[in-house]
Symmetry: C2
Subunit: 260 residues, 2 copies
DNA sequence: AATAATTTTTAGATTTGCCTAAAAATATAA
DNA sequence: TTATATTTTTAGGCAAATCTAAAAATTATT
């Protein structure tokens, strides 16, 4: 049996290890969990006792295969619930994280699979994050930060790095939700701010910070029809991802290489 | 803030008070919660401290208006989740209780209302139990135990008293799910067992125990078409309940009078 | 290499929720 | 009404998960 607290720690460790290839430190986990280093040390002992992490005093931790499997399953559940909340219950993408944080801990035979089935086996959650399949395999995509585009590039919004409600609401206001089309018109050298044209033809300026928190996929085929044909976000997303390959679960894939 | 354990105790007290009009005893709560009397006493002190129950040593407990409201909301959540699990995710009615037992504790603004909306404001859960509305009002129905029918009565299955998986599965096997039609053909005086005809024309014999755990609604109009016209369970249930009145929340309604 | 700064662990408490065993109160029976 | 049985509470303890403060280990800096 594994407690909710233990599950949350596993997920935190997974997320840290995902970004930085090295072992997760006590402090990093404490920051992610919004708790104290002392509490983390306590928990690390428990998780090591259960063989969910490899833990050496003062050396940080790594998930064992067992721990990785549990963390992956937890993320799968979290993101599937998020899809349900947005697609079926009508929540906005900035409202669902806290709910999914609770729902992910619901245990029950067949629940996840039925959820997955009901939702049509989605590969990405409402924030564009990949949903591992039942065997723990991840979909991934060729996405880059908006800030790395070259002037003249056309692209489609595919995800966010900052998941805060404030950022998501800002994107909604700018008409930059998932699937939104855009073209980079200009980069101001002074502060690296970006002038773009959005799908509806409007021109707006975005700060460097936005450029570093918004993932996009560069589109070549689409640019000819840009602004003329109206395509639904769902259609666009499907177009963008239909060629995406899959990697085996277990071995974590390398952090996305940003830029060229 | 209220913990999951506290919520579960409130629900247990509510359920006990629902059946017996008097104060819920420590032992009754312990039985319902499958724990010890000592643990219950501990918790009663905490709930009384939070003004969720009226508690006098050795005198049992009653929910305060505040406690009643919380318990009602919890039951609403539990039963709405059960509807989702059965109607949307495809679970059988004997599989959903444990899941709903966890899901009922998920907290979040607007979750219950959106769930209710998505499900089409159901008035009864997959076991035929009423779902209080957002204001805490209960639907109720004119149902009696199968065992109290007179020979010759026609009826429709509307609910169960025993919610165990074993009983629910048995009912499935006998084609006595919610909405199933039946006619009481004979009562054997020897052991009070019942011979009935089910919707598909088959005759079966049910034990006295079944008769005391299955709720039905006597039907007059329907008997003419019995066995000829095929009606969906959903249609039948709707027909049966469309005239049901509602009672105000807060004051608990009297336990159902069985028999005449 | 020694000192300073930082990180991590330990020590000791606290809260929640549960347990068993014993004591106290209440209800039932003789 | 006294004795007996039952119910309920108290006492004492335990495990999970958290905290603060202090000690120990590691890392960075002179
Ligand atoms: Mn969580
Ligand atoms: Mn997400
Ligand atoms: Mn529960
Ligand atoms: Mn139910």
């Amino acid at each position: 049996m594994i407690s909710q607290a233990e599950e949350n720690y596993l997920k935190a460790i997974f997320k840290i290890s995902e970004k930085e290839a090295k072992a997760a430190t006590t402090n990093a986990i404490a920051a992610e969990m919004q708790t104290t280093a002392a509490s983390v040390t306590d928990m690390l002992k428990r998780l090591a006792e259960k063989n969910l992490i490899d833990y050496e005093k003062y050396r940080g931790v790594q998930l064992t295969p067992e721990g990785n499997k549990l963390a992956t399953a937890l993320i799968r559940k979290h993101r599937l619930w998020e899809v349900l909340l947005v697609e079926k219950l009508g929540f906005a993408w900035d409202e669902v994280h806290e709910l999914a944080e609770q729902l992910e801990h619901v245990q029950g035979n067949g629940l996840v699979d039925r959820l997955d089935e009901f939702l049509g086996h989605p590969k990405f959650d409402p924030h564009g994050d990949p949903i591992p399949d039942a065997e723990g395999r991840w979909s991934f995509r060729q996405q880059v930060l908006l800030g790395t585009l070259k002037v003249g590039d056309h692209a489609v919004v595919t995800g966010v790095d900052d998941h805060s409600a404030a950022f998501l609401q800002y994107l909604d206001q700018m008409h930059l939700a998932l699937g939104a089309q855009l073209e980079l018109l200009e980069r101001f050298p002074y502060d690296q701010s970006l002038r773009i044209r959005t799908g509806n033809g409007q021109e707006i300026v975005l700060s460097e910070k936005v450029g570093q928190n918004l993932y996009v996929k560069i589109s070549w085929e689409a640019d000819r029809d840009f602004g003329k044909r109206i395509m639904s976000p769902a259609f666009l997303m499907a177009q963008l991802f239909h060629r995406d390959v899959q990697r085996r679960g277990g071995k974590r894939f390398a952090p996305l290489q940003l830029g060229k």
